[in-house]
Symmetry: C2
Subunit: 132 residues, 2 copies
Amino acid sequence: MEIDYSLNPIGFVRSPLKEPAEAPMQGNEGAPAARLELKQPFAAALSGLAVGDEIIVITWFHHARRETLQVHPRDDTTRPLTGVFATRSPGRPNPLGLHPVTILAIDGSSIKVGPLEAIDGTPVVDIKPALE
Amino acid sequence: MEIDYSLNPIGFVRSPLKEPAEAPMQGNEGAPAARLELKQPFAAALSGLAVGDEIIVITWFHHARRETLQVHPRDDTTRPLTGVFATRSPGRPNPLGLHPVTILAIDGSSIKVGPLEAIDGTPVVDIKPALE
């Protein structure tokens, strides 16, 4: 069986953060609220979600270097090189981002969530309930 | 900028679970331990991980129907149709699976983890530290 490994973005982040340098490393480090503007057909896939729900947004770090296998955690060169699977480095073989956020508003196919450190234009590939 | 949306599997699940019908719906519902057999170059990306660490394994549900937008939660038709983004349904536009597991052993590019409900042969696309 030939497996299809292509992601189709369900929408994009709309955020006041415009450049990677502006973004905190984690959402809980002062990130703002942002909107997830989903493509219209995916509004149906949001039913059952409500304001106040904790969800995990999965993004695709489209600026990331996929060749990266080891990094200095938090770009601190005094810390030893560490495998990317032990870190949240955006540079990694498949640059998926996991973002635990709270739903602040839902309007059709647009969801306001926060705090979210992903920058404006980041592709969104999935939304899931928070892990228990 | 043309964005590359293709996942490259970093390895595959090796599990005693061979068919979807055998697999519990969630790892904490009686799933067994399993091995993640990573491709050799990715061993370097594991450095810093240790036995006992809690990680999130991200898989690609290669059997899933990507057209699915709503499901009856837990296949219980007495429950109302719910958007897949409010559920852990494997059928969803981008069939990514998030699996919180504990590392039981590490041997080169092979990691034993558990409990894991993903079946044998499931592609693994990323490994991350547990969400705080």
